[in-house]
């Protein structure tokens, strides 16, 4: 049977991906350019018995999402940079309390209100370091409407598997662009549900590290009663200031990501095998970069594209290898220099690392990227 096909906007594809993953709760607040995600889910969630709530503000939306997730419902919110800034408080809460949830950031330009209808890629460092305190982060950066669908599913999977917030960042260009989407059949994409506890309610500890790096999370309203707090806590969930317990818990929460990079990582490479110059690009910029690679090859320059789909944790190993292989890595981004610093760190001086930035609301075009490549070679 032929697959269901549709012409969908990136934001609509995101909502459809959430439904495919079994999402049952959306809490949000209207903000350009992400609003279509909310609009589609307000139509579709009640049809599958899910809940949609428009909260009083971005912080309240994040709070409702975490509260809903604690009852066992797969939960999502969608916003843009200004909203993510407001949500940081509770993104940190979801990190320390280890509550699965998905946060969509359809990136616009500029700091503050910036350019609400223009694209940007300037929230990529915020995705890692936006909330205070030490924590791990997972951020995915799809580059097409189809990929927004599949990466939204993967975001839920990672959130549920690693018991943490997962951010999906795509820029306004991909969010508002329409492309042909092939709907995967049910069962075609893996859908992961969080692990339920196997111990008796009396023996349940929500942060019991003897159950592995990611202890099972019970649902509120089941047989399990337990305590959740944003304070540093012991394995039973109650606050502690005991140095050894705080240290062990903080390290476990960071290491559950760092020790599983191979499972979380996802990259695409295009003509990198013999490349002298690597264009390291993500999101809509990677589309211009791919075009630039083809054009440069026509001119006899051996260019290749490295495209991270998982941006955080950072693709350290492969970036380092490419730095040894290539003469230069060019990092085009719709910002004034963010991921380029991570690339520089990973390259350890083994090749030239150059940045090509743009923040005027227009996408980076292939010509611009090609000019930069020629400049550094």
């Amino acid at each position: 049977m032929a697959k269901k096909v549709a012409l969908l906007q990136g934001n609509e594809a995101c909502a459809q991906g959430a439904l495919y993953a079994g999402c049952k709760f959306f809490g949000g607040y209207p903000i350009t350019p992400s609003t279509e995600v909310a609009e589609v889910l307000s139509v579709e969630l009640p049809k599958v018995g899910g809940k949609f709530i428009q909260m009083e503000d971005e912080i309240g939306a994040m709070a409702a999402v975490i509260g809903a997730s604690l009852t066992g419902a797969k939960s999502i919110t969608a916003t843009s940079g200004p909203g993510v800034s407001l949500k940081q408080e509770l993104i940190g809460y979801a990190c320390i309390a280890e509550v699965p949830c998905v946060i969509i950031n359809v990136m616009r330009g500029g700091p503050s209100t910036g350019m609400p209808t223009g694209p940007g890629q300037s929230d990529v460092m915020q995705a890692m370091w936006g909330t205070h305190g030490d924590h791990a982060a997972i951020a995915l950066v799809p580059a097409s409407c189809q990929e927004i669908f599949t990466e939204t599913v993967r975001a839920f999977n990672l959130a549920e598997k690693y018991r943490m917030p997962v951010q999906v960042l795509f820029d306004e260009i991909v969010g508002h662009m329409r492309e042909r989407i092939e709907f995967p059949e049910p069962g075609e994409l893996e859908v992961i549900d969080r692990e339920a506890p196997s111990v008796s309610p009396e023996d349940y500890k929500p942060y019991d590290s003897t159950k592995g790096q990611v202890p099972p999370l019970a649902a509120f309203g089941s047989e399990y009663k337990y305590h959740v707090t944003g304070l540093n806590k012991a394995d039973d969930g109650f606050p502690t200031t005991k140095a050894s317990l705080v240290d062990a818990e903080e390290r476990r929460q960071v290491n559950k990501v760092l020790d599983n990079v191979a499972d979380i990582e996802s990259n695409e490479e295009y003509l990198t095998e013999d490349a002298d110059v690597i264009i390291w690009a993500y999101g809509s910029t990677s589309r211009s970069a791919r075009y630039a690679v083809n054009e440069l090859r026509k001119e006899g320059i051996k260019a290749g594209l490295f495209r991270p789909i998982t941006l955080w944790p950072f693709p350290n190993k492969r970036t380092a290898e490419l730095a040894v292989q290539a003469k230069a890595i060019v990092v085009p981004e719709m910002n004034l220099g963010q991921m380029v610093f991570e690339v520089e760190r990973a390259a350890k001086g083994n090749c030239v690392v150059a940045h090509e930035g743009r923040v005027d609301g227009d996408p980076l075009n292939p010509g611009q990227i090609m000019a930069k490549v020629k400049e550094v070679l």
Binding site: K24, F25, G27, V43, P46, K47, G49, K51, I53, M55, E56, D57, I59, G60, A61, A63, A64, V65, I66, G67, A68, S69, L70, T71, G72, A73, S75, E89, L90, Y93, F220, G221, S222, E223, Y224, K225, Y226, H227, V228, T229, G230, L231, F238, P239
Partner: protein, 272 residues
């Protein structure tokens, strides 16, 4: 005779963190009695709070307890209730948590008329941070950040809740323990947003700065200045000056409850 609180308290959690004479413990006992009156299955009860002294309450109680971020209790609780309407949801916290940093969540939870019971312990001060003035600190009072007397005007929390759309609003004080559990139980049974404001004492950071020689003075002050809503109509404006009304201040059983409204949304969506 002696009330069995022990079965509701998590083993090994007492003594609690509150200062000698702090009324929060009296309120917690009232909440336990109310939960017993309503025969709440603790597995199916979520107790949600923000940050502050009063927000430490959930940690002591054997239930699904959620100690969140400053002011966010009502918003987290909204998510819990929406996702699982069959759960009983109780919110608790203090005056600063609920009406300053959490003011927006508070009024909108009232507006939606979502079925939860919010026990707001109003002790007129930010206690945990050492006694800074809150939206409920009386004008002229001394706090650590109003050394010359508080220039701010005061929130009347119950009026705020009524204005925002809560459908059961009641007030009592820590000096009226039997009324605490009676009103909370009524709130739990009420279908919709219930606000129970309990005027409370903070001897450590409020009392000692404001000419209360002891916690006893504060308790007597709460008792002496309370007027039941039933007695108030017989009193003159002069007699009511500076007094706080206690009892059920507002009740509306007609306004639809939020989760029921959303259940209708689901019905419409599924029949479309």
């Amino acid at each position: 005779m002696a009330y069995d609180y022990d079965k509701s308290i998590r083993p090994g959690k007492l003594p609690h963190i509150w200062c000698p004479g702090c009324g929060h413990g009296i309120v917690m006992k009232g909440l336990i009695r109310a939960m017993d009156t309503c025969e709440l299955d603790r597995k199916n009860t979520a107790i949600v709070s923000g940050i502050g002294c009063a927000s430490r309450l959930p940690g002591y109680l054997d239930a699904c307890t959620l100690h969140t971020a400053h002011g966010r209790g009502a918003a987290f609780a909204t998510g819990v209730k929406m996702a699982k309407p069959e759960m009983t949801v109780i919110c608790c916290g203090g005056d600063g948590d609920g009406t300053a940093i959490g003011g927006n969540h508070f009024i909108h939870a009232c507006r939606r008329n979502i079925d939860m019971t919010y026990v707001l312990m109003n002790n007129f001060i930010y206690g945990m941070t050492g006694g800074q003035f809150s939206p409920c600190t009386p004008t002229g009072a001394i706090a650590s950040t109003t050394p010359y007397g508080n220039p701010d005007q005061v929130f009347d929390i119950s009026k705020l809740a009524i204005g925002a759309g809560a459908t059961f609003v009641a007030r009592t004080t820590a000096a009226h323990p039997r009324e605490i559990d009676k009103l909370i139980a009524q709130g739990i049974k009420h279908k919709g947003m219930s606000i129970i404001e309990v005027l409370d004492d903070c001897p450590t950071t409020y009392g000692r700065r404001n000419k209360f020689r002891s916690v006893i003075d504060m308790m007597k002050h709460l008792k002496a200045n309370s007027v039941s809503v039933k007695a108030a109509p017989k009193m003159t404006a002069e007699q009511l000056e500076g007094k706080f009304l206690t009892g059920v201040l507002f009740e509306d059983t007609e306004k639809p409850e939020y989760c029921e409204q959303y259940a209708n949304v689901i019905k419409k969506a599924q029949s479309a």
